[in-house]
Amino acid sequence: MSRLGVPLFITRHVLIALVVGGIGGLTFAGFLLEFDRFTSRNAFCTACHSMTYAETAYQRSSHYNSASGVRATCGDCHVSPGMLAATWDHLIGGKDLLKQWFGPDYDDPVVNALLLPEAAFAARAWFRDRDSATCKRCHTMEAIQGKRADTAAIHREETAGKTCIDCHYNLVHRPVPDQSTFKRDAWNRMIEEEFGLAPGMAGQMMADD
């Protein structure tokens, strides 16, 4: 026993290592928190031009414009709560950056619109896998009242076995059918009409990419 009552294996070196490690660890955790915060901002996400198309639709949605002034950012919905989970999501999300650099030309509005359904399907699966965790950041099931007569009762009585995204899809971004009824041909025709392209151009563009 030393005079200070500290166990003998706490030598000076151990003590220094603990202090340095502790401060280092805290600094790293702080860094991760700041990193997650920084990379969840709308400005960060839309730094890639390809993401501004998603932003346009989002800015017309009630998740951007709510009467109460509550505004969900990209990360609020698309990055998991919790430091470790958020870091992991950002790590996995890095593949989007690789696709942006080396994949199809998502900056082209036509390509972007053509490939939107696959992005939507992936995002819905992501929500479903997490039991719509990011929705529940703000929305508490028991507190949902709604404006129509039976909204509360429907949420109370009709949602067994369902998660938010099962019903609430096509809420913020451009509507895309459910994967089970999605028809690639019909989608391509719609995009061709929208951009004034000749029929068949969409398929050609997708093949080129």
């Binding site: 039976d150 009709e158 019903c167 451009r174 459910d178 009824t181 999605f182 019909a186 989608w187």
Partner: protein
């Protein structure tokens, strides 16, 4: 043609009840009593509900269907087409698909733009024309129904599954009440107004008067509704145009019993050509009767093979069978004579000369081919399409007011006081050849005697007044 086959009862659903009662359908109701509760409550009170037919039995879809969408874990379609209803109501489906109702979109498709697009604007087509005639329903690439074409329950709607029409044009969803469909009100949404005032005509007729005063004796809720047997108080639209009467079977081919075309520039007695594929086609009786097995172009432009041909006499006979449940044969025949005489008068005195005058003005370049850029085109259009149709429908369904004041009086007034002066102005120096040459025969003789006075105007014209020249 099977116009007089028994039994006279409505077709029974031939399917085994095991064919309905979709297992996923029960789950819809609990939620839909909270969301859009009106329609769920109507279904709860329906015969469908009592028979165990649930939401999914009608709204089920396969993923490959053009308008299929995911809803609460099920693949469904919003539109329940006649083909969907036909899964159980097979006979009604077959009859309806071949009817003039089913072709209501196809028949006017090429003509509508002149009014809907040129004269007014595209917006009116979705909210106006198409609501009766039906729309060509467009499913967008994102799976939604294009609001320019839906909601729509027009009788000739072209559905995403290719079937034609909409059962809910007449059968209010989701109650599907027999009584409602038998009421004259089932037809009112479209058969009203200046060009086809059938609601107004019925109400102004003796039939309508009897119906209104004895509605409680109409037995409208009866399982079977054969005129002369299950009710005798009055006929409704359904009675004469679709209903069972005596040995005459009910039909969902609503034009089957119509001997005349009454909504055309010149009325024609019409042949009903029945095709091998179940389709039907109206042809003027003046045209050569197509041979069995011949190929013929249908209203939608596709080809069909002739199975049989119903003559106008046969069709008239079918309609008369309904009349004779309450009227004697001489009465019925004489009524039909009065009706036919009005149509012949309209044709011979006004419709044929007016059409010939217009054709001449177009052929000589006195009018541009574009419709409605010259006032006479409105006059001519309304002459047959509005007051001319009112007169003919009025005579067909026994409303004296529509036959005369709302109909033939206006035909005469507009023909002499608007159409002819406008035609002469357009024809200019060729007026005698292009206009007056068409006014030969007895019909227009009265104009050659301007001195023949009559007290109808309420003015005493003293004898000896200088004769005025005919307003030519």
């Amino acid at each position: 043609m099977a116009l007089s086959l028994s039994p006279a009862d409505a077709a029974k659903v031939a399917l085994d009840p095991g064919q309905w009662g979709h297992p996923a359908g029960e789950a819809c109701v609990s939620c839909h009593l909270k969301a859009s509760s009106g329609l769920a409550a109507q279904w709860q009170a329906s015969a469908h509900q009592r028979a165990g037919v649930n939401c999914m039995d009608c709204h089920q879809a396969t993923a490959a269907d053009a308008d299929a969408r995911e809803h609460e874990g099920q693949v469904i379609a919003t539109i329940v087409s006649p083909k969907d209803c036909g899964r159980c109501h097979t006979q009604e489906f077959v009859e309806q698909q071949g009817s003039v109702h089913a072709e209501a979109y196809a028949i006017i498709k090429d003509r509508v733009p002149a009014l809907a697009q040129n004269l007014t604007g595209a917006a009116v087509q979705a909210a106006g024309c198409d609501q009766c005639h039906g729309s060509l329903v467009k499913v967008r690439g994102d799976g939604s129904l294009d609001p320019a074409t839906w909601p729509n329950s027009g009788i000739g709607r072209v559905n995403p599954d290719g079937s034609k029409g909409s059962c809910s044009a007449c059968h209010g969803r989701h109650l599907f009440s027999k009584a409602q469909a038998r009421e004259p009100e089932a037809c009112v949404r479209c058969h009203a107004g200046p060009d086809s005032p059938d609601k107004e005509i019925f109400e102004a007729s003796k039939h309508g008067m009897l119906y209104a005063s004895q509605r409680d004796r109409m037995n409208l809720d009866a399982a079977q509704w054969v005129a002369g047997r299950d009710y005798t108080a009055a006929p409704t639209c359904v009675t004469c145009h679709m209903g069972a009467a005596g040995k005459l079977p009910a039909t969902h081919d609503v034009g089957l019993r119509n001997a005349w075309s009454l909504n055309s520039p010149v009325s024609q007695r019409q042949l009903l050509v029945v095709l091998e594929d179940g389709g039907k086609l109206e042809l003027p009786a003046s045209a050569p009767v197509p041979k069995r097995g011949a190929e013929i172009t249908k209203a939608d432009g596709t080809l069909g093979k002739v199975k049989s041909v119903g003559t106008p006499e046969r069709r008239r006979q079918a309609m008369s069978m309904v009349c004779q449940e309450c009227h004697g044969k001489p009465f019925t025949d004489a009524f039909m004579k009065q009706f036919d005489a009005v149509v012949d008068l309209f044709n011979g005195k006004f419709a044929e000369p007016a059409r010939a005058i217009m054709a001449g003005l177009y052929a000589q370049g006195r009018l541009t081919p574009l419709p409605f850029d010259e006032p006479i085109e409105f006059t001519y259009w309304e002459l047959w399409h509005d007051e001319g149709a009112r007169a003919r429908h009025g005579a067909a369904m026994a409303s004296p007011n529509h036959t005369w004041w709302e109909g033939m009086y206006l035909v005469g007034r507009n023909f002499y006081s608007r159409f002819l002066p406008q035609a002469r102005a357009a024809a200019g120096d060729r007026s005698a050849a292009l206009v007056d040459a068409q006014l030969t025969g007895d019909h227009h003789q009265w104009l050659t005697d301007p001195a023949a006075g009559n007290p109808i105007l309420g003015i005493d014209i003293p004898l000896g007044t200088d004769a005025v020249e005919a307003p030519r």
